[in-house]
């Protein structure tokens, strides 16, 4: 009896140390929002994450020889999670903006998507501030699209801010907003889905500094070395053509950052 107890204890101890040891060695915690964002990050029924961004981050992790693990965080708390060390990297389609750069650092952009206006089929909409006068424009509040709308459209149109794109999509379908502004890539997917069948593209947003220079990995300002590694890996991914190879699996449009 005593022997079995001893053996159990020892095996328990050995196994925990063995399992814990590699975990201690520079495991990079990649933070992504818990809600799926197809085709960038999708949770499989097995609980594993997959998608375009997951492929990209796996590529980068391999390049910089880091062990990465995906951590789920609430999107609206993702920056506090980074600054409080709960995660080490935000890799979740976050636009690089001056506002965000006050709080965190960004890697070089790893992809870029334009923003697209989406509205009901058949509705006549000119997406200029004058054309959308008196209309209700829906936008996810935590995106750079919201900044852009607030600056240029808030004097002529009503802007409704949503916590998540899903809520906005539901309200678009229920006719509670006249038009919405969202990233073009998920928009293309959404328009092809059953929920987006009654909607169509109403044009792209013009180039604007508020819409950002592209999507970058969010890093702590103090992690200078990690930023250098990420920048180098992202550059290599573009130059070698590996980015286009990964991209082809998911998109018909080009997302190469400028």
């Amino acid at each position: 009896m005593n022997k079995t107890l001893k053996a159990t204890l020892i095996s328990c101890l050995v196994s925990t140390t063995l399992l814990a040891a590699p975990a201690m060695a520079s495991k990079l915690k990649i933070g992504i929002a818990a809600e799926p964002y197809p085709p960038f990050s999708v949770k499989q029924s097995s609980g594993q994450w997959s998608g375009f961004e997951i492929d990209l981050v796996n590529y980068i992790c391999k390049e910089i020889k880091a062990q990465c693990e995906i951590n789920e965080v609430a999107w609206d708390g993702i920056i506090p999670a980074l600054t409080s060390n709960k995660i080490d990297v935000i890799f979740n389609s976050m636009s690089i903006t001056a506002e965000r750069e006050k709080t965190i650092a960004f890697s070089a952009p790893y992809y870029y998507t334009p923003s697209m206006y989406v509205g009901p089929k058949g509705s006549k909409l000119t997406t200029t501030p004058a054309g959308l006068k008196g209309k209700i424009i829906g936008v996810q509040g935590s995106t750079s699209n919201a900044d852009f709308l607030k600056k240029n459209y808030s004097s002529t149109a009503t802007i409704k801010y949503y916590n998540t794109q899903d809520e906005l999509n539901a309200d678009m379908a229920a006719g509670r907003v006249d038009v919405m502004l969202m990233d073009a890539v998920p928009a293309v997917d959404f328009l092809q889905s059953k929920d987006g069948a009654a909607l169509e593209a109403k044009g792209m947003a013009p180039k604007d500094p508020l819409l950002g220079e592209g999507i970058g990995a969010g890093l702590r300002k103090s992690d200078v070395a990690l930023k250098k590694q990420f920048d180098a890996a992202i550059k290599k991914m573009q130059v070698s053509g590996d980015f286009k190879k990964i991209q082809k699996k998911y998109f018909s449009i080009d997302l190469t950052p400028k």
Binding site: D76, I79, P80, K102, I104, Y161, A170, A174, R176
Partner: protein, 231 residues
Amino acid sequence: MRFEWMSSYGQFFIDGLTITLELLLCSGVLGFLLALAVGFGRLSRQPFIAWLSLSFTNLIRGTPLLVQIYVLYYGVGSLFVSFPAVRDSFLWPYLRDGFWYVVVALALSVGGYVGEVIKGGLRAVPKGELEAARALGMPPFMTVRRIWLPRAIQILLPSLAGESVLLLKSTALASTVAVMDVLGAANLVRAQTLRTYEPLLSVALIYLVLAWLIERVFRKLERRIPVRSAI
């Protein structure tokens, strides 16, 4: 602590405060009227009315307010869009606005909770006073209007103050259906400036001040009603 975002987002807070107060007043008034009906309904001698009031109270008190808001907003509210007659009617601007769904949900909630409180208050009025009114020849409706209800509300004022503060805090749920109340404004600031504590603490302070104001108003009301302690 940094508050420089106040200059560009201050207006959102002022607009949000207006929405919060409008939610509080609209749902408070409507809810109180409903609560009166429920309170008297609970004491009704008509079995059907008593049963109906009790079922309503159980339904409202037995389900989370957030679920009620979602059922109204995402459930009932999303049906209207498929009827062109509704879409083209003058009601559409109201039917597509989340505000009125929250007002209805909050009013129903007040009806359920405060209705039960009012029932208690109505029961607490001494029988002798009602009998005295009847003895003086007051018709039943006048008895209710002059004696029963005023006395019940007088007894209930402290509880009603508490219920009003609870209602104030419930209005914060409006931000879950894209209504820009003060919490909605704080969420927007949080999302756009990435400051977490400052906007949330500001909102907490606003609610504290509002709750304090409500308590004060009710205390004033309590003092205004003369109480004769001599029996």
